[in-house]
């Protein structure tokens, strides 16, 4: 095999496929990427057995062939080479010579046949969404999932398409994040649970381009994302997702409208007094048109007032500051509406059209 690339094309492709290379594994072949130039196009593939990525790379095929090559070392070499033509050439032992200007690397390779190919997906049901929007809704919900939970379902996100709307939901037992977005076009109904890792890796590869589209295909066990020159295939999480509609409510006793930045800055300061170990809540005390942020810890105390608009009753309620922060940080609006019932009931941060809904459970506090 002998291939010639521009460094920029090679860098871009390698960085995409690296996202599905596991950092720790007992199967050394998974640490490789497959370079496949057996046809008239060059494809790079990585596969950690849950998530697989295949991307087509611009380059000249001087001699056809394929090879598996250690992903991290290969990526490091490509990154450090001069910005010029890079040639990759393998011999019969899969030793790969990587040359650029006066640099000549020789690294071990393995047979391309050792590599686990991606599963074949029948492109049946599908939806289409812009790269920008998909990236946004992932980033606006993914923080709410549980990264390593005994409950596998909490490590994924519900992706549901129904009545022209795509819904993405993450939850971890203390909070729920929901994003709804209307899609243009006619698609079949879909309801699947996608692993969180898949979504977070995809969001890193997606550009913020609102014009460029992602086509998403579904089977019973797999989801496939297709955009630019890249295909990403992931297993789905098997089973029934939580019945979130039961947990949502439009009733409230108190509704406030608050400046998001002022609230974030205030919580940020309150956080200074809370050590990781002591998990002390911050107390939100709403009186008339003022929201007081309070915290009392071994390190000291903080009180601040923020002007708000209020409908309904006064209330004092405690929260894990991280949960408030995570939600507020991903909201684009300058002013946010927060709905409260009582100090034991969840609060809701949501906009009028329920494009986003963040449910957060309160915590007990001693005033």
């Amino acid at each position: 095999m002998k291939l010639i690339f521009d460094k920029s094309n090679l860098t871009k492709a390698v960085n995409i496929v690296l996202k599905a290379v596991p950092s720790k594994t007992t199967m050394s072949i998974l640490e490789c990427i497959l370079i496949d130039a057996t046809t008239n196009v060059i494809k790079f593939t990585s596969n950690d057995m849950e998530l697989g990525i295949e991307t087509t790379v611009q380059g000249d095929i001087i001699e056809k062939g394929k090879v598996s090559i250690e992903a991290k070392l290969f990526a490091d070499i490509v990154r450090k080479l001069p910005d010029n033509k890079i040639t990759i050439e393998t011999d019969e032992n899969y030793t790969s010579k990587i040359t650029c200007e006066k640099s000549k690397f020789n690294i071990a390779g393995r047979s391309g046949d050792d590599f686990s190919y991606l599963p074949t997906i029948v492109k049946d049901k599908s939806i289409t969404i812009s790269q920008f929007m998909l990236k946004e809704i992932i980033n606006q919900t993914i923080f709410s999932i549980s990264p390593n939970d005994n409950n596998k379902m909490m490590t994924g996100e519900l992706l549901e398409f129904k009545e022209g709307k795509l819904k993405l939901v993450g939850l971890d037992g203390h909070r729920i994040a929901i994003r709804n977005v209307a899609l243009e076009g006619e698609f079949d109904d879909v309801k699947v649970v996608v692993p969180g890792k898949t979504l977070s890796e995809i969001s890193k590869i997606l550009t913020a381009d609102a014009e460029s589209m992602v086509h998403i295909y579904f089977t019973n066990n797999h989801i496939l994302f297709e955009f630019d020159d890249t295909i990403i295939v992931s297993r789905l999480i098997d089973g029934e997702y939580f019945r979130i509609n039961q947990m949502l409510s439009n009733d409230y006793e108190t509704k406030i409208t608050i400046n998001k930045k002022e609230f974030i800055d205030s919580i940020d300061r309150a956080n200074l007094l809370i050590s990781e170990s002591d998990k002390r809540p911050i107390i939100i005390n709403i009186i008339d048109n003022s929201l007081e942020v309070k915290v009392n810890s071994v390190n000291g105390s903080l009180n601040e007032d923020i002007d708000i608009e209020k409908e309904g009753k006064d209330i004092m309620i405690g929260f894990n500051p991280k949960f408030l922060m995570d939600a507020l940080k991903v909201i684009d609006d300058e002013m946010v509406d927060i709905y409260l019932v009582n100090p034991k009931a969840p609060c809701f941060i949501r906009d009028k059209n329920t494009n986003y809904i963040y449910l957060i459970l309160p915590v007990n506090f001693t005033a």
Copy 2:
């Protein structure tokens, strides 16, 4: 005590004194800074018993007094407060109220009398150098010292003034870094060993201002740096420094002139194949007007050629790539001269006027 500051002045002063606050200590008072407003100026002091920093802060004294306050928490609070007037007020129990706009922090303080004041230095012998130059020569030598050595002398740098020249020297048993700089003005001869930690913290506080001067004062046990509104006092390392003149030589068998950036890039790539554990050298093979960088490891091999100017014999010699890199990275020149004798003898990277000299011991290699 009641003081009012602009946030910017407070931030600057706190960041300066933080440099002498130890991250780990069994003496909790060392984690504090002293805020002293008993006179007509406000001074912040920190002291880890080796290194002490005192800086004068612009601010209004409403009520005189002093307090010791936990440095890290105080710095974090100041950083997160709005960009406005910040008031610090203490009561008779040293509880400190920090207010800014609608934020009110209360944190515990301690009596200012608990604090260890800086030693008094008789300002006798002194030299003067620009902030820019002092910062430069520290950064260009400090990497060569041994951070944690049984040999205490290797953890410091020799600072010597003689015949109008300031010399700064660091060494660790494998290499030596020397910077010489001519100073304007008449000063007494000086020869002291300054702790590396002192120098590295000072270099972080110094600005890159070539017009602003640092006055350095010496006693038998201490060194004092005075610049802007800040005084830094440090213990000296006691004892006789190494006789480095015996290790230096102007003889050579091979002299090469090489493009610094090309050499750095090449070593950087060679490094990719060297794992931390295996400590393999890179091999430099000089033949005619070409320098070949070679490395051979379990991960693969690399060969590159760089065009050079050469005087004298061909030579093949092995080096720890880190030592070459550390020196090359701090040299400002585009082209550097390297002097070699044989594969067992140290190499010298130095300029014609010996403003800098980097001695590096070679390592054995199997070709």
